[in-house]
């Protein structure tokens, strides 16, 4: 979804000098990168190297024919959109080219508008095709992870609880000790809580993925949200002997989003910072307005996150199991959810960490703008 990525490249292959020049001019004025070649061989070489989004090729050329270029380009990458240019006498060939996979054809002579239109349509189609391909891969992956992990993550606590109760019932007949009974009931309650937080996390994830954020976008003041969350965790932090510090400027931390999701986001980061801290350590939440964004840093003084794990930190169900790293209860979904929320809001999240010193999660979110700003930009009245 990065709109700001490098412009798509277009390759024009035509033996006619004037045609190459005018095509190049029109396409580059569209803000696209363009490369021109006078024959099929050189053109194909460039296609392989450049991986352009679209190729415009003249059907009638000396050397490798346009028709062959079409099929060879698709051998290189079937997602490259092919547009063929053809003289009136070769409409039949153009039809043949379309059959072999060209996207459309332009009969000569054509106007700059016609070329622009066809290039735009072609690139739009490519974008959609790539997006749906990505979507399919993502959905397939998600489905597979979902099946495996729902089975494992939901069933494990349930099976453990069931087994406790079942064995307890059996041992009861043989006269069980009350101490063991109490201990096991305690464990059953713990595992039930685990199941509940897993389900809650899952619902949040579904909410984020269902686009709830796009539906409800209201002004949310991060400072008051964060102060509230810290208030909720004061007791937990005290029990862990962790100090909570906040330094955020007044009135300059407003973003646009869904209240619940924004709370979940900072709730996750703050509870992590408390859980993965050391006794006598502290959690610092700081930040403010910077360049149209609100930047919030949540820092802890824990053992730090080994570099090899950082790329996976935001993955679904990723948990560090390492000696030296505190074993804490958790669903493995917290950071994944946080990342989803941040990207749905058009922001970013990154982590810095130093062994033995601590980790800092830095969230950047677009700052709230009054609706009047949108009107000025030609949005709505």
């Amino acid at each position: 979804m990065s709109e700001s990525a490098a412009p798509e490249a277009v390759v024009v292959i035509d033996d006619d000098y004037a045609m190459r020049l005018s095509c190049a001019k029109i396409v580059s004025k569209m803000g696209l990168r363009v490369e021109v070649f006078e024959d099929g061989a050189r053109g194909l070489e460039a296609v392989a190297a450049l991986k352009p989004g679209l190729v415009v090729v003249d059907l009638k050329m000396p050397g490798i024919s346009g028709l062959e270029v079409v099929s060879r380009v698709h051998e290189i990458d079937p997602q490259i959109i092919m547009v063929v240019i053809t003289g009136y006498a070769t409409i039949d060939t153009a039809v043949e080219a379309m059959k072999s996979g060209a996207y459309d054809f332009l009969p000569k002579p054509f106007s700059p508008d016609e070329l622009r239109l066809i290039v735009n349509r072609g690139l739009e189609r490519r974008r959609l095709a790539l997006e749906s391909q990505r979507g399919e891969v993502e959905r397939a992956l998600l489905k597979r992870t979902f099946v495996t992990f729902v089975s494992h993550q939901l069933r494990s606590p349930l099976a453990a609880i069931h087994q406790y109760l079942d064995v307890l019932q059996r041992l009861d007949e043989a006269g069980d000790s009350p101490a063991r009974r109490r201990e096991w009931i305690g464990r059953c309650l713990k595992r039930t809580e685990e199941l509940q937080s897993l389900i809650a996390d899952w619902l949040t994830l579904a909410r984020v993925e269902g686009g709830a954020l796009l539906k409800e976008r209201v002004e949310v003041d991060l400072k008051s949200t964060i102060v509230n969350i810290l208030e909720n965790y004061r007791a937990m932090a005290a029990a862990e002997d962790v100090a909570l510090e906040v330094s955020l400027p007044e009135g300059e931390t407003r973003v646009r989003g869904d209240r619940t999701c924004v709370s979940v986001l900072f709730d996750n980061l703050i509870t992590n910072a408390i859980k993965y801290n050391r006794r006598g350590g502290k959690v610092t939440v700081s930040g403010g307005f910077c360049d149209g964004e609100i930047v919030i840093a949540v820092g802890d003084t824990g053992v730090g996150i080994p570099e090899k794990y950082r790329p996976f930190l935001f993955d679904e169900f990723f948990r560090i199991k390492d000696s030296g790293v505190k074993r804490t209860e958790g669903t493995g979904l917290g950071l994944h959810i946080s990342k989803r929320i941040v990207s749905e809001m058009g922001g970013s999240i990154e982590v810095e960490s130093q062994a033995g010193i601590g980790s800092t999660f830095r969230v950047r979110l677009p700052a709230w703008r009054e609706p009047a700003d949108d009107a000025e930009m030609g949005g709505w009245e």
């Binding site: 089975s151 099976a159 453990a160 087994q163 595992r191």
Partner: protein, 136 residues
């Protein structure tokens, strides 16, 4: 004789309840919380039966144990040891790991689902111990 059972499972609650169950039924029980720890324990504890969770941290961890038992020289004396494979998923292992060479090691009656059906589990265990002792 008091048969020795080794429980290999990363869920400590599951180990706790099953251990109590087995001890109340007259077995001696040792625990390990990972495949690796389990393999070390096998050499030291020399169990008569292994109860192995096959869905620990990674889906291959449980199979790593059976692989070692079957192919590694240091485990030669345990090659015939009865291994009960336990999973919380009702799915036979050859469906999930169709290419796994270890599948042949698993006898259908030694593939169990969590939570364990206690009477059936105890019955199978008893039979397995008897057959293990018989082939010793």
């Amino acid at each position: 004789m008091c048969a020795k059972v080794l429980l290999i499972d990363d869920d400590r609650d599951f180990r706790t309840s099953v251990k109590s169950l087995l001890e109340s039924s007259g077995y001696q029980v040792a625990e390990a919380d990972s495949g690796h720890a389990g393999l070390l324990k096998v050499l030291e504890y020399k169990p008569h039966v292994i109860v192995l969770d096959i869905m620990m941290e990674s889906s291959t961890e449980g199979y790593g144990v059976t692989y070692a038992l079957k192919y590694l020289d240091e485990y030669a004396e345990f090659r015939g040891i009865p291994v009960f494979m336990v999973s919380s998923i009702k799915e036979s292992p050859d469906e999930r790991f169709p290419m796994s060479a270890e599948v042949e090691m698993i006898r259908p009656d030694r593939y169990l689902t969590k939570p364990l059906d206690i009477p059936r589990f105890l019955q199978l265990l008893e039979k397995a111990v008897a057959s293990g002792v018989a082939t010793d």
